[in-house]
Symmetry: C2
Subunit: 354 residues, 2 copies
């Protein structure tokens, strides 16, 4: 089978319609990038009774990178086999299949959209982007899980684990990333309670000595959740474990005002990358042409830059989006009262025109 640049897994909900628009942008900025679509999530179940079918694995195996949409069904249908365990069987299985270990989640505050932030604008002074680096292969996500009978009724158990190697890998990535930015790294854990966090803190402190130019601070996760709201400008790069990263990156995504703008990039130790919007499949918006395509477009830009070394094409997308926003063009999720919203397709037309 011939190798291709990009496996396209649109998934469920608004995934397919947003992906369709994203591929139009790709054709505009980098028509030579080869790509092929595969099924994942509920969409894959509908055809193969499998959330992550073999054909999709094979497609990924011969790709240079994966552009992922979103998976999951409507809440009121979660009992149906199509949706039962859908996220775990598709996106979590995919992360395991690819050994993805580092997840970059940038929460960027677009100047044109400051008004959209739930925070008072004075609090955003000096805050352009908070980048969360989330460890993606360990913690309570992939440890042993069980539920068993006891005298006291059922007991449920989840085991959180971290190995030195997992933490060290993330730490090096975090220090390297911080060194290229403001040289400030905040490592977040719960070392006053957890063994995994104490090991985390110990390894980060060790690795720090190899990056003398970067200032490392340790912060407890509860405090960080508060600080992100009270004073987000203190953060540039935050490095944290899988579970805390899940929670904190969603909290950080509130700062720009809409999850619909947040791309993310995940890498394994060989540098293979999967790129996806941080938001979910938003089934309630499906088919209405109202979803914000920005997160998917920015994920494509990250893919072009990091996996295909197509810096120019990536920047072209990013600049076109900024100019579209500067021109006051908005999808519904980023509209203030009085502003007029346009649809997914029309917004993409405006981006392409730029």
């Amino acid at each position: 089978m011939k190798r291709i640049n990009m496996a396209v897994l649109a998934g469920d909900g608004v995934g397919p319609e947003v992906m369709r628009q994203t591929l139009r942008v790709l054709t505009t900025v980098a028509p030579d990038v080869t790509h092929e679509s595969g099924l994942i999530g509920g969409a894959a179940w509908a055809e193969h009774n499998d959330h992550f079918p073999k054909a999709t694995r094979e497609l990924i195996d011969r790709s240079d990178a994966v552009l992922f949409g979103s998976v999951g069904g409507p809440v009121d249908q979660s009992h149906l086999p199509q949706w039962h365990g859908c996220e775990v069987n598709s996106i979590l299985a995919l992360r395991q299949y690819l050994n993805l270990s580092v997840n970059h989640r940038p929460a960027r505050i677009f100047p044109a959209l400051r008004n959209l932030s739930p925070l008072k604008n004075t609090r955003l002074e000096g805050c352009d982007e908070v980048l969360i680096l989330r460890e993606l292969s360990g913690d309570i996500y992939f440890g042993e899980k069980r539920t068993f009978e006891s005298d006291a009724g059922l007991i449920a158990e989840d085991v959180a684990t971290y190995t030195t190697n997992q933490i060290r890998h993330l730490a090096h990535e975090a220090f390297r990333t911080a060194a290229q930015r403001k040289a400030q790294l905040v490592s977040v854990d719960k070392a006053n309670v957890l063994e995994t966090s104490r090991l985390w803190r110990q390894i980060f402190t060790q690795v720090a000595s190899q990056y003398p130019s970067v200032e490392l601070t340790h912060m407890l996760v509860d405090n960080c959740a508060m600080q992100l709201i009270i004073n987000p400008a203190q953060f540039d790069v935050i490095a944290t474990g899988n579970l805390f990263g899940d929670i904190l990156s969603d909290a950080a995504s509130a700062l720009p005002g809409s999850l619909g703008m947040m791309p993310s990039a995940s890498f394994n130790a060989d540098g293979f990358g999967l790129y996806e919007p941080s938001g979910g499949s938003a089934p309630q918006l499906q088919g209405k042409d109202v979803a914000n395509p920005m997160a998917q477009l920015l994920s494509l830009a990250l893919l072009l830059r990091h996996s295909l070394q197509r810096n120019e094409a990536a920047s072209a997308i990013e600049h076109a989006i900024e100019q579209t926003l500067d021109a006051g063009i908005r999808t519904a999720d980023i509209c203030l009262t009085g502003e007029q919203a346009i649809g997914t397709r029309a917004f993409t037309d405006e981006v392409i025109a730029r």
Copy 2:
């Protein structure tokens, strides 16, 4: 030994100075309430080489309730034996000693202090108080912990557990509490990934059938962290596990603008209560007479109401604080630029005068 109404454990940092002022207020509103002070945390270590000495346990055993201050030392001294493991050995040990299982953490937005919130005031429309009910006896806090050698280097492990009984107990408390308020309960978990969360969701769904007047919603913890910032007014009562409760209650405490105003109350199955500010010991403020006494005063009010059935005295404190705030009187943490701050003692004088 004679029984007393209240064991007073001031602890470290600003704990003692704030507690001193709080006891002056007690003398004003309920001079007949008997109380006795005991040592805990670093202060106890300094005298007994023990963060939670026997004398303190005995004091608690003959009290009707505990008024707790705060524990913990300066970050740059955390390697000293006085501070090493201080929080775990004092406040966590105390929670275990008393079998505390339900923690009430109300984040109240005082009308006079709306300007203080990091959130735009339009976002706070309709949001007076978010009450977080945190399960306090289970989860990853008290499960097995270990670090061991393996071929891949060190591995650290923390086990999260929940029993049916632990969850059911919290659930009943949550539904009862919600029924007395807006009859809206949001249960927060990570059921798409964790066994403990799936059991949690199952029990909450079962218990819900006994409280038909209360509307139960399930929400994932990552989404909740975002929703608390984007749209806090949707919440009245949130019920969640020990770890998520730790993180979300700190996030919620950002809404009023300062952790210095948040009291909390914890109960065991027999209704015995411990009352403490949600904030920490703030060693950097120690001895400066600048700390906000509100969280401690409001904790005392909760104690008077719930453990000693002294509703009038409790309300007297709460109203006096509101009037003090309405009069524009502020400690440093709740001052806007241009406003003048007064100290811990002077603020308390103003509360007492009212």
